[in-house]
């Protein structure tokens, strides 16, 4: 589904990603772990098309298409979803208006018909029910006044509505206590299927207790330094990232 080949990227002229290679297949969960400043968030922004992140070398293929040539909204249409580390507050835009506009934009992109107001309400209610969320969050402005946990659950709701084939979870555990973390992880697990894949970006292992990865990669110094199974995450929890620090023996 996702093929990243020798990806180099700079931010403000500084090279952050220095040759990433990664292959993700449908149905898989990949965790990208690494110390602060290793390029984890840069990778998620490069994949979702944020401005200010310049790819200087390499390719990213998503379902065989060149992802890097697409606008952020086209990537969403193709099925890429970024769950933000810090979901943005948008005063004046009701959550439900936002969700409907997003869903219909994606449906237009995919050549599917738009949903009318009734169909949309029915769909979104089924999703909030599935995720055990109250409908009251729909009426409020996007993320405005939401607690940390509510913001992340709102990300999960958007994911449920847009049904992406690749979801990138960027430090989803940050700012959450353990109960909120479990709730969000449960929501994400409900959305997993053999047809979609997850890229879980995290500093800490604890999220991976709840969203269990098939593959774990250590990202440090702009490269993937080590890959393994879920046991690699547990090792890192014990030993930390010291061995991947710049200058440490490989």
């Amino acid at each position: 589904m996702l093929e990243i080949k020798n990806l180099h990227a700079t931010v403000d002229g500084k090279e952050i990603l220095k040759g990433i290679n990664l292959s993700v297949k449908a149905g898989e969960v990949h965790a990208i772990m690494g110390p602060n400043g290793s390029g984890k968030s840069t990778l998620s922004y490069v994949l979702s098309g944020r401005e200010g992140y310049e790819v200087t070398e390499g390719d990213v293929l998503f379902k065989g298409k060149n992802l890097l040539e697409m606008e952020p909204d086209e990537r969403a249409g193709e099925g890429v979803f970024l769950a933000f580390q810090y979901p943005v507050e948008i005063p004046g835009v009701p959550n439900t208006t936002f969700l409907k506009e997003a869903l219909n934009s994606v449906r237009r992109y995919r050549g599917e018909g738009e949903l009318d107001a009734m169909q949309f309400v029915k769909l979104v209610r089924s999703k909030t029910k599935m995720l055990h969320m109250s409908d009251d969050m729909l009426k409020r402005a996007v993320n405005v006044g939401f607690s940390g946990g509510e913001k992340k659950r709102n990300e999960a709701l958007q994911m449920a509505v847009l049904e992406p084939s690749l979801a990138i979870l960027d430090e989803t555990d940050s700012g959450l206590d353990i109960d909120a973390l479990k709730t969000v992880a449960d929501s994400v697990n409900l959305l997993r299927s053999p047809d979609n894949a997850l890229l879980v970006i995290t500093h800490y292992q604890r999220l991976l207790d709840y969203i269990v990865p098939d593959h774990v990669h250590v990202l440090a110094g702009g490269r993937i330094q080590k890959s393994g199974g879920k046991e690699l995450a547990l090792e890192l929890e014990k030993s930390g990232y010291a061995e991947f620090a710049p200058g440490a023996a490989a």
Binding site: G49, A76, I90, P91, E101
Partner: protein, 443 residues
Amino acid sequence: MSEPPFTEHYSALRDALPGQNLAWLSRRRESALADFSRQGLPTPRQESWKYTSLRPLEKVGFGVDGAPRACVSIDRAPSLLPAASEHHRLVFVDGHYRADLSSAGTLPDGAQFTTLREVMAKDPDWLERHLGTLSGEPASRESQPLLALNTAMMMNGFVLRLGEGVVLHDPIEVVHLGGAGDRPLAYHPRNLIVMAPRSQATLIEHYTHMGEQPYYTNSGTEVSLAEGAVLHHYKLQADALNAFHTATVHAEVAADALYDAFGMTTGAQLSRNEIAVRLAGEGANCHLNGAYLVRGKQHCDNTTRIDHLVPNTACSEVFKGVIDDEARAVFQGKITVHRDAQHTNGHQLSKVLLLSDRAEIDAKPELEIYADDVVCSHGATAGDLDHDALFYLRSRGIPEMAARSMLIEAFLAESVHNIAAQGICPALMSSIGHWLAGRREGL
């Protein structure tokens, strides 16, 4: 020395001006004309006109029409209220009252909502006592040449008069359609609102266009609110993009009365809304809020002046603007807290979205405080759309133009939804939507 522009209209109109039988009115017109002739149109040399030049007005070559002569056939005038509502409304085409397009709702006893001409004919003594009283002091007239021009040449306008305790439950509406003539026309609607103690009303003014001709509306409105009266005064100025619009409002607010104004501007190549409010009794309160969306080479000026004259008065002012292309907006807000006006509460805010590098805002907030126990604040911001919010929306599949529109709409929606007469919100939101659609299509 040549006469200032527009003065020659007086002789052209002389025979058609209403109220010629009223000596006091003729004297006021003559004196106003003399005032205007002496001063001419305001120029940027005057402090309060520093950012707005009326020069483009002089280039058009406006004429006047003493009698209605619309060339465009009109069978129905647009409304900002839901189609089903049977409200009272007055419709003017190129400044002339059109009874055939107007509709009479039911007004309670003690309420009068009619044309200036009718009041000139039927109640001239009352009119003499009220017309020009808020703006007529020689000192203020000196700096009000547009109002002097209006006084000299006013043909018509509306009068709203409410007796003590009279409450209008339904909004009333004034619609102005411009550009329907066969040549560029200038006209000067004159309006008068006099509300007795504890009366209440919601008044909507809608300026829009039918024909192709440029036109110039120069309105003057006097508002007098007695103790405990409440006026919600809403205005949508959606004039043609080749039109000119200047409006001067003087309001006097007595104890415990509320003047609640909201104005939205999308039209006219050059517009200026000037509102002066005197909070003259304890507990007097005013809200002066506004929203504007301008593009191309439009110029939109909102100038307000609020005088806190006595203790315990309050004002709040929020103007939000969206400026695209090479358009330019001006916000001048002066709040004066006079020496006796202790415990004044005054807040003012100007917020602007600049959508292009060539868009411009000149914001001039001014607080003058002569009392020592007051709470006053002001602020002015200008910036681009929030890039993080834009990326967030786009990352969910919403194309860039639509995402920008959503954020622009959200920026203004707050102001619109804060207005008390919820009935006109859909119409105001749809005029925002219309502007955004035009922007997307590059109109």
